[in-house]
Amino acid sequence: MNLKQGIALMSSLLAFGLSAEAGAVCTQTGASQADRDLWNTHGCWQDFFLWQYKAYGLKSGDWSNRGWSDACNVSLEFPKHWNASYLLTYGMADNFAQSFHGTADYRGTAEAPNSNFHDSLYHGITDRTDVFGTFSPRFWPWDTDKVETACPLYNPNASNSNPASRAGDYMHEGWHANFDKYNIDNGNTGGHRAGPQGACTATGCDYFYFHGISKYVFGAMWENNGTASRFHSPNQVQVEFLCDVSDQSQWWIPLSVRQSAAADANGRAASRFINGPGYSCGSPRPW
C-alpha cells in the first residue's frame, strides 16, 4: 500500500466513523425535573450559551444533531451540557467559611483554557452507556486533551441525568487532566485504582484526602505538595463539588437540584473510596 492509498483508506474509515458517530445520539425524549427546574431560572439565556461553547471548547460537529442549532430544547444534549455549566458558573455561594471550594476552582477544572488546573482541553460527547465520561490525553504535543461526557448524564431516565451530577462529572474528568498536568499516577483502571478494595465497592477506586474547610483559598484547589496532606483525587473533587451544590449554593438554586446533588455525593462518598467513606452532606431531615 503506498502513501496515497493509505490516506484514501484512512479518510474513508474516518469519514465513515464520523458519520456513524454523528448519526447516533443519546435519548432525546425529555429532561429530568432537576434539569427543567434549573432551566426555568434562566429561560434559555442566549448570551450564556454563546459564551459557554467557547469556554468549553465545543466543536459544532460533535454536537450538531444534539441541539447545536436548537440550543433551547432542554431534551437535547447540548442544552443539558450548558445547563450544567450555568450551574457551576453562577450557582455556587462562595462562602469561604463554609464551602469546600469556590467558583474559581470549579470553573477552572471544567473549562477548556490552559490554566493552573490543567492543560487545554475540549468537551465532546459520546454515545457510550458504560461510562459517565472519559478523559483522553493528547497523543501529540500539538493535540488537545479531550473530555467526553456520555449518555448516562443525558438520558432522562438515568440516575445522573441532572445538572449537578453532569457538572460533577466535568470535575471528575477535569481532575484526570489535572493529574496529567502534574504527572500523577492514580492507577491503571481508567485512571483509578483497581477495585473493589478497602471501603470501595466499585471497580475504579480513589483515596479520599481529607481536608478541613477554609484550607484552600478559592482558586487554589489545583495546588498539591506531592504528599497526601495537600491533594485531591477525581472522585473527591466530584464529591466536594456536589456537596457544595447541596449545601453551599446560591439561594435561587432549586431544591430538586440540591437534593439530586446530595444523593449523588453521599452515594459516591460511600462507595468509591478505599479509605472511605468520604464526608456526607445534605441534611438527614427529609425536607
Binding site: D37, K54, D130, T203, I253, P254, G267
Partner: protein, 289 residues
C-alpha cells in the same frame, strides 16, 4: 494484484467517504456557533426575580383531585428554594391528616421512579417523609424493601439501575427515621445491617444518629446492628448546610485522630509528558448574571 486490489479499495474508500460526508452534514456542515430561535436575552437575575416566592399550590382534595394536587405540589417543591422550605413544611403538616394525599404522594413516588426521573422521585420521597405519618412511613418501609434490580448497565462495576434505586431508598430510610417511632426505628436498625446496598446502610446509620442528636447513647444503640467492616460509618464526618469551618474542622480532626488508618498514602508520580504546543486561551469572563 496487490496494486489492483488497493485501487479498488481506494475507489471504494472515496465512495464511502463521499457518502459519509453526505450523510453526515452534522459533522461538517454545521453552524460554527450554536443557536436557537427561542433564545432569551433577559439575564437570569430578572427571570429569578419574576418568580413569586412563598406561594405553594393548595395541597388538598380526595381521590383524583388529591392526585392532581400532589402532582402540582411536587412540581412546585422541586422548583422551590431554601427559603421556601418552611412553606412546604407547613402545608405538609396540614396535609398529613388527609389519607388520600398520603396515598397520592405514594403513587407519585412510584410513577416518578418507574419513569426514571430520580430527581422528581427524591423530591416526592422527601415530602412524604417530612409528613411524619404512620401510613407514609409504612409505604416508605415497603419502598426500602423493594428488591434491587439485578440487570442493566454497569459503570465501573456498579449496576446503574441498582444505584439509582438505592439512592431513592436512602431518601426513604431518612423519612422513616424522621418519624422517630419505636416500631419504625426497628426497621431502620434492621436496614442498617441488612440492606444489600451500602448507600442505604450508610444513610440509615446517619439518619438514625442525626434524629437522636448524634448522642453517645444513640451510637451505642446502633452499634450492634452495624456490619463489622462498616463500623467507621458510625463516626463519619457530616457537613450540614450552614455549618462553619470551626465546627466542621473540629469534627474532622477528631475523626482523623480516632482513625489514623484512613490516612491516604502519598500520591505516586509518573513520567512527565511533553508540554502542549498551542495552549487554548479565551476571555474567561462569563456574561453578567
Amino acid at each position: 494484484m496487490q496494486s489492483r486490489k488497493w485501487r479498488v479499495i481506494s475507489r471504494a474508500g472515496a465512495t464511502v467517504m463521499t457518502l459519509g460526508l453526505m450523510s453526515g452534514p452534522v459533522a461538517f456542515g454545521a453552524e460554527a456557533q450554536p443557536g436557537s430561535e427561542q433564545g432569551s436575552s433577559t439575564p437570569p437575575s430578572r427571570v429569578i426575580a419574576a418568580r413569586p416566592l412563598h406561594q405553594p399550590p393548595a395541597l388538598s382534595g380526595t381521590g383524583t383531585e388529591a392526585r392532581k394536587s400532589v402532582k402540582a405540589f411536587v412540581t412546585w417543591a422541586g422548583q422551590s428554594v431554601v427559603e421556601e422550605q418552611d412553606d412546604a413544611r407547613k402545608a405538609l403538616r396540614t396535609a398529613a391528616k388527609n389519607p388520600d394525599l398520603i396515598q397520592a404522594f405514594s403513587a407519585e413516588i412510584l410513577e416518578a421512579h418507574k419513569a426514571g426521573d430520580s430527581s422528581r422521585a427524591l423530591v416526592a420521597l422527601g415530602l412524604l417523609g417530612e409528613m411524619r405519618t404512620y401510613d407514609g412511613a409504612k409505604f416508605l418501609a415497603e419502598f426500602v424493601r423493594m428488591p434491587l434490580p439485578t440487570k442493566g448497565t454497569y459503570i465501573e462495576g456498579e449496576l446503574q439501575e441498582e444505584v439509582q434505586q438505592a439512592r431513592l431508598q436512602a431518601k426513604a430510610i431518612a423519612g422513616i427515621a424522621y418519624l422517630r417511632d419505636a416500631d419504625f426505628d426497628r426497621e431502620v436498625l434492621y436496614q442498617v445491617g441488612s440492606h444489600p446496598s451500602v448507600i442505604v446502610r450508610a444513610e440509615a446509620i446517619s439518619a438514625f444518629l442525626w434524629n437522636r442528636g448524634d448522642t453517645l447513647d444513640a451510637r451505642k444503640a446502633l452499634e450492634p446492628f452495624v456490619r463489622r467492616e462498616e463500623l467507621l460509618f458510625l463516626d463519619r464526618v457530616r457537613r450540614v448546610s450552614g455549618e462553619n469551618a470551626e465546627t466542621f474542622n473540629r469534627k474532622l480532626s477528631a475523626y482523623l485522630k480516632a482513625h489514623p488508618e484512613v490516612q491516604a498514602p502519598k500520591p505516586e508520580p509518573k513520567a512527565p509528558r511533553p508540554p502542549e504546543e498551542k495552549p487554548y486561551t479565551f476571555d474567561v469572563t462569563p456574561p453578567k448574571f
